[in-house]
């Protein structure tokens, strides 16, 4: 087993930095990396004797605290009982707007994605929404989305307790600045630099003075990731867990 972190482990660890202190995280059924980050935070809390971190995996029979149907997630968010959630986007723009609907003129979009799901609500309600999208290209990270499924910020007269805090991609990590309604580059993953990020990003952003290569997870984190978290992942995301194990065994292999 390699001692150095894999790409996916790095993503999990960096997402976990945005989950510190949460009590309840909800993740989508097919979101193993965000789920792993929440499991990591839960494992850390357990190791530190801190209050329990709850993790709801939507659509899962096993990892599901809900008993009031699919409306309960949204009610739960409205009640302030969900601290963090993850959203992606076919397009994400520099103001934090996300598009889950399609490319081209609505409604007869030339490319149609599934739809907005709960984003038009949860983006307003959950205090820490982490945007996660592996693909980091000008096609995804655009200047302006073709359709606003959910806006990054709202006018002051709109009641809104939630919104984006960060954007994590396969290449980099950005913080979201609500006042400015824009992103700040915090770090790039190994193999990238400030220039490659700029070339692959279709929107403008600021760059933090301390921006540098994304830090590798420390030894304690890697131990949790390869122990308790890996075990938990195997139960719910067996394919992803197996891939993670393979990557650890052959760290120089392909990322995807």
């Amino acid at each position: 087993m390699s001692a150095s972190a894999t790409h996916n482990e790095r993503l999990i660890a960096v997402i976990a930095t945005y989950l510190e202190g949460v009590r309840h995280v909800a993740v989508g059924a097919s979101s193993p990396i965000p789920a792993a980050a929440a499991m990591l935070v839960r494992a850390r809390a357990a190791a530190a004797n801190a209050p329990e971190v709850k993790l709801s995996i939507l659509g899962s029979v096993k990892h599901n605290f809900f008993t009031n149907g699919s409306a309960e997630l949204f009610d739960c968010a409205a009640q302030g009982r969900i601290d963090a959630f993850f959203l992606g986007g076919g397009q994400i723009d520099g103001h934090g707007n996300i598009n889950l609907v399609g490319v081209g003129e609505y409604p007869n979009t030339k490319v149609r994605w599934p739809g907005s799901f709960g984003s038009a609500y949860l983006y307003f309600q959950v205090p820490r929404v982490i945007l996660f999208r592996e693909e980091h290209t000008p096609r995804v990270l655009v200047d302006q989305v073709d359709f606003i499924s959910a806006p990054g910020t709202s006018a002051p007269d709109v009641v809104r307790s939630g919104g984006p805090v960060a954007l994590v991609t396969g290449r980099a990590v950005f913080d979201f600045d609500k006042e400015r309604a824009g992103f700040t580059l915090k770090s790039w993953h190994p193999g990238e630099d400030a220039d490659t990020i700029r070339a692959q990003t279709g929107f403008t952003y600021e760059t933090d003075a301390t921006a540098a290569t994304t830090a590798d997870p420390d030894a304690a984190t890697l131990e949790l990731l390869r122990g308790r978290v890996a075990d938990e992942l195997s139960e719910t995301y067996p394919k992803f867990a197996a891939r993670l194990r393979d990557e650890i065994a052959t760290p120089d292999g392909p990322k995807a």
Partner: protein
Amino acid sequence: MAGSGAVMMSVIVSLEALVSRIRSGDRLAVPVDYAGVSMAATPHIIAQGIDGLRLVCVPTGGMQVDMLIAAGLVTSVETSAISLGEAGGAPSFARAVKNGDITIMDATCPAIHAGLMAAQKGVPFLPMRGLIGTDVLANRKDWGMVDNPFAEGDRMVAIPAIHPDRALFHAGLADRHGNVWIGRRRELAAMAYASKETLVTVERIVDEDLLADEKTAAGVLPSLYVDAVAHAPGGAWPYACWGEYGTDVGALSRYGAAAGAGGDALTPWLSGAEWTNRAEGAAS
């Protein structure tokens, strides 16, 4: 609701008879993939040519919606998303949207829930947070705005009540009175409360009264809301039946490929042959 059927007619009917209660032009509510989709009913809807359907996905849809669109039976879809989940996008849906063959009423999950809840409560609308500034809202001319009467300058979205003509879903078991065990899938109850009629296919029909034991009663949709029940074992396939069997991602992918190709490739799905073959395979 109950009572329009023939005198003393049992609530337990054949799958064909159940499907025949759906009328052309119906506003038809169907559940999210994992909550119990009555897939077995789909080829029968197609065989009976029930068209002009205005689908309401609670709160998202998948293969069933895609099939009905492919069969040309759908006028509009109100939904928060349509996909085949792990098996990818919904090809017939994407094509129909691109070509303008159907009216798409893009929503967000809690707005669908709010519309059904308004119908459940007998009010014309429910107020809802979020949505302001989205193109979802901008494109829903049927939605409105309402002022919070308890705070100055607090304007919210008003989601109108959704009153489906029919709700159609699949569940694990029903009894002979028409009580249906839905467990913690309470969106199915929400659909039934809001709908004029509720049609349910089930894995098993049991003799005992599901309301008699408080343990099971807690997860029961009472017969008061159920108009027809048909026995259809494996009826959610290729989707999961909560607590009974899992999703057949392989079959979903095969469907996705067929729908992507279109034409003849889709025939065994739209005709119901895939279900018949499967049942024969299971019986042999």
